[in-house]
Amino acid sequence: MNLAIILQAGVATGTALLFATLGEILTERSGILNLGVEGMMLLGAMTSYAMSNKFGNPWIGILFGMLAAGLVSQVHAFITVTLQADQVVSGLSLNFLATGISLVLGEGLNSLVGVPLIPKFDIPLLSQIPFIGDVFFAGHSALVYVGYLMVPLAWYFINRTRPGMHLRAVGEYPSAVDAQGINVFGMRYFYIFVGGLLAGLGGAAISLAISPGFFAEKTTSGQGWIAVGLVIFAQWNPIRAAFGGYIFGALRRLVLDIQGPMLLLGFANPFYYNPYYGFFLKMLPYAFTVIVLIIGSREANRKRVGSPAALGLPYIRGQRGL
């Protein structure tokens, strides 16, 4: 057991968070706050696990998981974009809905055995680099590598392409985009769908790769909410989201590991003295989320970067304001 192994597991764990965070960044960039990430991840995890079992192919499972989460996200899209309802309340209700559906349809899934999982492999050459190769390029499931590719792609898309510029404009100043002849409503439906797909992918990464299986609400255990918090910390920037995602992943693994704190922090895992102190360690990722939010909002204040200006506001044609 050494540091590289713990960090390697942390990167794997962080991948699920990364997908969900990237999805929420894209959704929020279009001006829609979707608080249903936790529910959508759970639905993605449940569907992909069940479908992977049914078809005997994990990739088909992932596809179904993403589609299920994407479809359920359209409930939020209809309510917030077309019916112009409050995005916070709608997101919360989406969360209840998706969680409930996952629990009902996912009943009994935890007794399945031999469900096909995402394959793991080394990246040739890169995995030979000492330490870094072990942490980032060896023995990971395919989805982890997909995550590496997705971060720069998402950054490039948002900042350097024409549709990405439209996306940012929709979130900042929808009436100007509307005047340009771009369909604000359609754009928002689409990016809510993309956010759903990625949340579903995050869920699938949990149930088919990181910690295989479906254990009701414990499958995601609040990671969707952490992702929503990470978006604020990331200041709607995919690169920062990647940092946040992997750090949180490492933190989640760390608390499971007996020797981790000694290697990383220099003191023995309190779990070692009294197994019940582990409950305090389990609080860490959640407490850390709050701390990260404090850091994030202070920094945003200082650098004067804020959320997309139209975030949380319904776009109503012809109405004054944004």
Binding site: L83, F96, L105, M283, V290
Partner: protein
């Protein structure tokens, strides 16, 4: 405005009527609003039936079972009320916060801390076991309320002083509260290695109707406890605060128009902290009444998500404290009967569908929809 909101549902010129959607100039009557909510719930139950059927269940039998095993007799109705009491108090907690558009999603965690605070009185111990019952109840209420209030104060302070999003922070605190409780039931207060504390002494129990069965035989076996009185008093207090006090006026003004409130010189940061603390206090009282009225010991599964159901209750009750009491009874029935229904996720799912339809139905409060005769073009 009205021009752009007009939409056609039929191809041009075929159908002599067209659907018109116009913003309402004045809000519709309370009667309309209640009917709308009722319709939303009915539709939600129909959709829920569809999902249950898709999962291989029998929806009508499930619904009939919910109705029978929660309203079928005085005895089961009493059990329904027992489930409704924590919902009433957490529902009121959400009502106060939501009225200021402060999204306290942490009623669940504040409930756990309230329960922990009440247990602290017995298990620390703060009071000896032979303390009279009324002193026990008063002290446990105070400690439970205080713990809930502190747990509401934290996200309130973070929001007011450091601009931390309260939705995320309250949610994170929920998970922390559960682990906090777990530590105490597994280690500190564990009884004989089981994951629960010892049973509280009789003096630390809230009185139940069944305790008076000697004097009034009809009360035999009725589990409704004194927490119901707490809930009713709390509803009156919340109503007085929100609608009859200057503070309530400030809360409502901030909720409706924070800019106007700021220009009027209302201290927003202070109100955020106070309202979050009040909200936490109510949820803490819910935890205290549940632990002393029903469970009588600290253990793991003291809440089937009361704090989350409370969000829906507050919304369905349109943030009216007295409506919260009534709506809580319905959801109490759902939770009580839901325990025996397979698959086990049915109550959560039904709550979600109800909430979705409820928020969608709000559209009809803001827009008028009617058929108009198509003019010759």
């Amino acid at each position: 405005m009205s021009e752009s909101m007009t939409s056609n549902i039929s191809p041009k010129g075929r159908f002599p009527f067209k659907l018109k959607i116009e913003p309402r100039l004045k809000s519709p009557s309370g009667w309309f609003s209640s009917m709308l909510s009722f319709l939303a719930v009915v539709l939600a139950l129909l959709v829920g039936a569809g999902i249950i059927a898709a999962a291989g269940g029998e929806p009508w039998r499930a619904y009939a079972h919910i109705a029978r095993s929660s309203f079928g007799s005085v005895g089961v109705f009493s059990d329904t009320m027992v489930k409704a009491i924590p919902l009433m108090l957490t529902g009121l907690a959400c009502t106060v916060a939501f009225r200021m558009r402060l999204w306290n999603i942490g009623a669940e965690g504040q409930f756990f801390l309230g329960a922990w605070g009440a247990s602290l009185v017995v298990l620390a111990p703060i009071l000896p076991e032979e303390t009279p019952q009324w002193i026990f109840i008063i002290v446990m209420s105070i400690v439970g309320i205080a713990m809930g209030a502190i747990y509401g104060f934290i996200p309130g302070f973070l929001k007011a002083k450091l601009n931390v999003n309260e939705i995320i922070s309250t949610l994170m605190l929920n998970y922390i509260a559960v682990e906090w409780n777990n530590y105490f039931i597994y280690d500190k207060w564990s009884e004989g290695g089981f994951q629960m504390s010892k049973v509280f002494p009789r003096n630390a129990w809230l009185p139940r109707l069944a305790d008076y069965a000697k004097e009034i035989p009809e009360f035999r076996g009725l589990t409704v406890h004194f927490g119901l009185v707490f809930a009713i008093i709390a509803a009156v207090v919340v109503w007085l605060i929100l609608y009859k006090s200057q503070w309530g006026y400030e809360i409502r003004l901030i909720g409706d128009n924070p800019k106007a409130a700021e220009y009027a010189g209302i201290p927003i940061a202070r109100n955020i902290i106070l309202v979050m603390s009040l909200s936490g206090a109510l949820a803490g009282l819910a935890g205290m009444s549940e632990i002393t009225g029903v469970v009588h010991r600290l253990q793991g599964h003291i809440s089937p998500g009361y704090g989350f159901t409370a969000i829906i209750i507050a919304w369905l009750a349109k943030l009216n404290p007295f409506a919260v009491l009534l709506v809580s009874v319905l959801f109490g029935a759902l939770i009580l009967a839901g325990r025996e229904i397979q698959p086990s996720g049915v109550p959560t799912m039904i709550q979600g569908v109800i909430m979705v339809f409820l928020i969608a139905s709000d559209f009809f409060m803001r827009y008028r929809i009617y058929f108009a005769r198509r003019k010759e073009e």
